[in-house]
């Protein structure tokens, strides 16, 4: 399981447990040193990640509200879980999240791999253009979401203006974030714009990891470029592509900031992804117990999906 998504990690882990090397000349034993090195990180994670997680699990079985410190905390058993899993309104955000995650992954992967493949042709100035392409992913998602709201304005915004110019339609004939049909795509477009560069980077690393001699051998065998692509490039870059899918999947499953600022989940609840629902329950309704249960459900979902996915990834790698 620790083999999470890192090519060759298995080898590395095997190598990482060596026979004890030279004895320390003085001072601490290696074992003590090891703990000294690792402990600070573990302690920090225990304090800021694990302890809160356990607390969340506890709270999820209560009716606690963080805005009523004086009210008694009552255990309610699994009521919170039951009411979430049987509430039809909760499936809406789950569907919105799934739509968002699946489409962004698909488009970003195809586009990102395509760009990486092109950049790997090593044309003149590819370094400079790669750096330029990367800029969107350095922006703050919240700031991006807010600014795209401005760009998507049907009357005053640039997006409709440009699309209107290209298609000859009136710019205000469609509303990206206002219509039920287009709103789910408006958040996908922004995410693709922002995060395709990330996929480009990972795929580029994958393409660069393919040794030249394999292509040279293929040339000797007179394999066509097309065939080389399907038999060498794609299979060898696949673990990296899958890694990109994993990272983007996890990140977008957690998506909050960009969508919250761009659409606030609207129109109605069309783009209300799971994290927005969670935020509303936890920090607006202040139903701390209920929202803790919801948080646990989300965590288990992403954790479970990631686990299944990593198993698949490891199989691809070992082929």
């Amino acid at each position: 399981m620790a083999d999470l998504g890192v090519p060759n990690l298995a080898d590395r882990l095997a190598a990482a447990t060596p026979e004890t090397i030279a004895k320390p000349i003085r001072g601490l034993s290696d074992r003590a040193l090891a703990w000294l090195f690792i402990a600070p990180s573990i302690v920090l994670l225990l304090a800021i990640n694990i302890f809160p997680l356990i607390w969340t699990i506890y709270l999820s079985f209560t009716n606690y509200r963080a805005n009523r410190p004086n009210a008694p905390i009552k255990g309610v058993g699994i009521d919170n879980y039951v009411s979430i899993l049987t509430d039809a309104d909760v499936w809406q955000p789950m569907q919105a999240t799934a739509h968002f995650v699946l489409w962004t992954i698909l488009i970003e992967t195809v586009l990102g791999f395509g760009l990486a493949f092109l950049i790997d042709r090593k044309f003149r100035g590819h370094g400079l253009w790669t750096t330029i392409i990367l800029i969107p992913m350095m922006l703050s998602p919240a700031v991006v979401g807010n600014f795209w709201k401005f760009i998507y304005q049907p009357q005053t915004g640039l997006f409709n203006y440009l699309i209107g110019m290209l298609t000859g339609q009136s710019a205000s004939s469609f509303e990206m974030i206002g219509s039920v049909r287009l709103a789910p795509w408006s958040i996908i477009i922004v995410d693709v714009w922002m995060w395709t560069p990330y996929v480009v980077l990972i795929c580029l690393a994958g393409l660069r990891s393919i040794p030249d001699y394999i292509y040279e051998a293929a040339e000797v065998d007179r394999a066509s470029k097309w065939r080389q692509f399907w038999t060498i490039t794609l299979p060898m870059a696949l673990p990296f592509i899958m890694l990109a899918v994993l990272f983007r999947g996890i990140e977008n499953f957690k998506m909050f900031d960009m969508v919250n600022l761009l659409t606030s989940g609207g129109p109605g609840s069309t783009t209300e992804v799971a994290s927005i629902t969670l935020k509303r329950e936890a920090f607006e309704s202040w139903r701390t117990g209920y929202s803790s249960a919801f948080a646990i459900i989300l965590f288990v979902t992403v954790f479970g999906l990631a686990n299944i996915y990593v198993k698949a990834l490891n199989q691809v790698k070992s082929r």
Binding site: V6, T56, A66, G125, P141, V143, T196, I202, F299, A306
Partner: protein, 315 residues
């Protein structure tokens, strides 16, 4: 690879030209929103919301002035009673029928971003490097489980983590403090740092340290004098990724900070001018906020590619 006459893997000039054209086309299209942000920063508030949008306009510093100050619209009679304007921004503001009421919160927020992002990046990289070295070089019981545990902490949605953190910080008095935010961002980044750094350190041949230790170095000295310099590339790449996260983070910042420790991302989207959102000021803030991270990334860009795949790429 540079001048190898006709290497079989060197793409043909034609395929290079096509590839170059397509990549540049994509780059140009993806730059449009950023150029638009830059242009909006130089517009007046009314030009920014003109319809149809104005491509050609007279540049103005109003956006930057609005970013750093708060203004109030007053009548001409009232403005006449005030002492003369003290600086250019004051003048620009007055000419729009407004008075400068005071400084805005942008500078303090920007400063908070600086402290929290760089502070937590430094800590995360430092802790991550140590732990990575520990995992890489020593026999750690349950190393696999620990490593996976470290990574899994990154799978929690930030809002989910924020609920108990909020309660915990409230009890400990860490809400809205620099220390609280630095610790939190460090915790989020340290998992990434451990994994990235482990990849890099694994690649440093252990013979180097062994040789140094035979020469009389202790292990700590060997770590400092041999391993660290070798891992510089990895440290740089790790720092970029930690910094991009910490610099841009929004969800924790908006839920756990309010004034004294709030960073810029929750602040920029809420710059309200007279009535409506002050888009030139928002754009000006966005532009200024982007500059440090772009500079940092460009300075360290060579290391970026290696970092993103957890250092798994081998030369």
């Amino acid at each position: 690879m540079t001048t190898a006459a006709h290497s079989v893997v060197e793409p043909s000039p034609r395929s290079k030209a096509i590839a170059g054209t397509l990549v540049i086309l994509y780059a140009v299209i993806s730059m449009i929103p950023l150029v638009w942000i830059g242009m909006t920063a130089l517009k007046t508030p009314s030009d920014a919301i003109a319809y149809p949008p104005k491509i050609i306009f007279t540049p103005s510093m109003a956006g930057f002035c609005d970013l750093f100050t708060t203004q109030s619209r007053q009548t001409e009679d009232y403005i006449k009673t005030l002492p003369p304007p003290t600086d250019t921004c004051d003048e620009i503001t007055r000419s729009r029928g407004l008075v400068t009421a005071g400084p805005s919160n942008f500078l303090p927020r920007f400063f908070n971003s600086f402290i929290i992002a760089f502070g937590s990046t430094f800590l995360a990289v430092a802790l991550g490097t140590l732990a990575a070295y520990g995992f890489s070089r020593f026999k750690v019981p349950m190393a696999d489980d620990l490593l996976f545990f470290i990574l899994s902490t990154r799978m929690m949605p930030p809002i989910a983590v924020a609920i108990p953190i909020y309660l915990m910080y409230r009890e400990l008095g860490l809400s809205d403090t620099h220390l609280g935010m630095i610790l939190l961002y460090t915790a989020v980044n340290v998992s990434l740092a451990v994994w990235l750094m482990k990849g890099f350190i694994d690649e440093i041949p252990r013979e180097y340290e062994e040789a140094a230790m035979i020469d009389g170095y202790t292990r700590l000295q060997a770590f400092r004098k041999v391993v660290l310099p070798q891992a510089a590339t990895g440290i740089a790449a790790t720092a970029i990724f930690c910094l991009i996260f910490a610099w841009n983070e929004y969800a924790f910042a908006v839920l756990l900070t309010s004034g004294s420790a709030q960073t810029a991302p929750p602040f920029i989207p809420i710059i309200i001018g007279e009535g409506g959102q002050d888009w030139p000021a928002v754009a000006a803030g966005t532009t200024l906020f982007l500059i440090p991270i772009v500079v940092f990334t460009v300075l360290l860009r060579k290391h970026l590619l290696r970092g993103i795949t957890f250092g798994a790429v081998r030369k």
